[in-house]
């Protein structure tokens, strides 16, 4: 069995999407061949060839303006027929992570992926919306605030291996929402200071 994970974050290796894709492929482990490909392959137009013979395509990407990052969208749009041809028997899964706490805010992006699968004539598996992507480096996946994420990826890995379909799901960290907000705000102020800006200038109206 061959499973192809596509990391759709423009931040590639430093991204939440990379961590999620790595954790998922570790869980799939020896049970199947699992390749992860990223934005560089998409840009170079090598991706459809890498998809060849896949039983599952797992798109892992950040939520951008309630949708798909433009470069990933462009790839899906322009390579629709090549993808459909290279991975004709594949089931499509998607894992979308977002900055806000609520995992359900990824629902529209998951629908867009479902519509993509329909247009490509591929079978839709299911989607997972991961809230509070900003927490991803707080602990190893499966530990502390990322226990829920670990469980959600365990379930997804077995569903992918069993070639199952299902309802879209969401997952949020084992961490209070109010504290996540406070930490996010502190984080923005800290990066402003690092860039030599006062908190007040973050509110600029250029």
């Amino acid at each position: 069995m061959k499973i192809t994970c596509i990391n759709g974050s423009p931040k590639t290796r430093r991204s939440a999407s990379a961590r999620i894709a790595d954790a998922l492929s570790a869980k799939i482990g020896g049970a199947a061949e699992c390749v992860v490909c990223g934005a560089a392959e998409l840009d170079r137009g090598e991706a459809p060839a890498a998809f060849r013979g896949s039983d599952a395509l797992v798109f892992v990407f950040p939520l951008y303006v309630d949708g798909i990052p433009s470069h990933l969208l462009r790839f899906l749009d322009e390579s629709l027929h090549d993808i459909a041809e290279a991975a004709s028997g594949a089931t499509v899964y998607a894992v979308v992570n977002n900055g806000f706490f609520e995992g359900r805010q990824n629902a529209v992006a998951l629908e867009i992926m479902r519509n993509f699968a329909a247009r490509a004539g591929l079978r839709w598996g299911l989607g997972l919306g991961v809230g509070a992507g900003g927490m991803i480096h707080a602990a190893p996946v499966g530990r502390g605030p990322l226990r829920n994420l670990g469980k959600a990826l365990d379930a997804l890995a077995s569903e992918i291996l069993a070639n199952q379909t299902g309802e879209d799901r969401v997952c949020e960290p084992n961490f209070p929402r109010a504290l996540y907000k406070a930490l996010a705000h502190a984080g923005w102020r800290k990066s402003a200071r690092k860039n030599g800006l006062k908190t007040k200038s973050l509110y600029a109206k250029p």
Binding site: S9, P10, K11, S15, P62, Y64, V65, D66, G67, I68, P69, S70, H71, L73, R74, L76, D77, E78, F100, F101, E102, Q105, A107, V108, E111, I112, M113, R114, N115, F116, A118, R119, R177, K181, A184, H185, W188, S191, A192, K194, N195, L197, S201, L202, Y203, A204, K205, P206
Partner: protein, 173 residues
């Protein structure tokens, strides 16, 4: 300067010849922004929030969109329908425009959203074109417009569908 409420900004992905045919001319009350040829994609750096707040750090014309958005009362997006959402060219402009809002969170209707950088953010009107748009895609598009208007805009949105670029002229009649 005309009153902000009365200013319309049209973001579209038409080729120049089609744009000249279909769209009304630009004026003090009507600003046009062509998404094609495509602007550089967002690289996810958040510089528009923490380096040059309110402006994208990438130096092409994609960085000018937020300033236009801050001057209008209505944003009309004319887009080819792609999988129930915006086209890649339009999406590249939208992704480059999160500097329009603040990094700080607010809570609305049990959900987190961003606080507004500018007062009176615009109403959103999405005009999609495409042959044989599926019903599921129409439903997705309505949800997308509603979600986008909660984050970027006033919370008010409208969505229309047309089959061809030519039919879209009706949207501006």
């Amino acid at each position: 300067m005309p009153n902000k409420k009365s200013v319309q900004l049209i973001l579209h992905d038409l080729r120049p010849d089609a744009a000249a045919d279909i769209l009304p001319p630009s004026s003090a009350r009507r600003l046009l922004f062509a998404a094609s040829p495509p602007v550089h994609r967002c690289v996810g750096c958040f510089g528009c929030w923490t380096k040059t707040p309110g402006k994208c750090v990438i130096g092409d014309r994609g960085a000018d969109f937020v300033a236009l958005l801050s001057r209008c009362g209505e944003l009309v997006v004319l887009s080819r329908m792609v999988f129930g959402g915006l086209s890649p060219d339009i999406k590249a402009v939208m992704d480059r425009s999160i500097g329009f809002i603040l990094p700080f969170f607010r809570h609305a209707g049990g959900e987190t959203h961003h606080a507004h950088r500018f007062e009176n953010p615009p109403d959103l009107r999405y005009v999609f074109y495409g042959e044989e748009i599926a019903d599921a895609e129409k439903e997705t598009a309505k949800k997308l417009a509603a979600a986008n208007s909660l984050n970027l805009g006033s919370g008010r949105s409208a969505v229309e569908f047309y089959q061809t670029v030519r039919d879209c002229a009706e949207a501006f009649a």
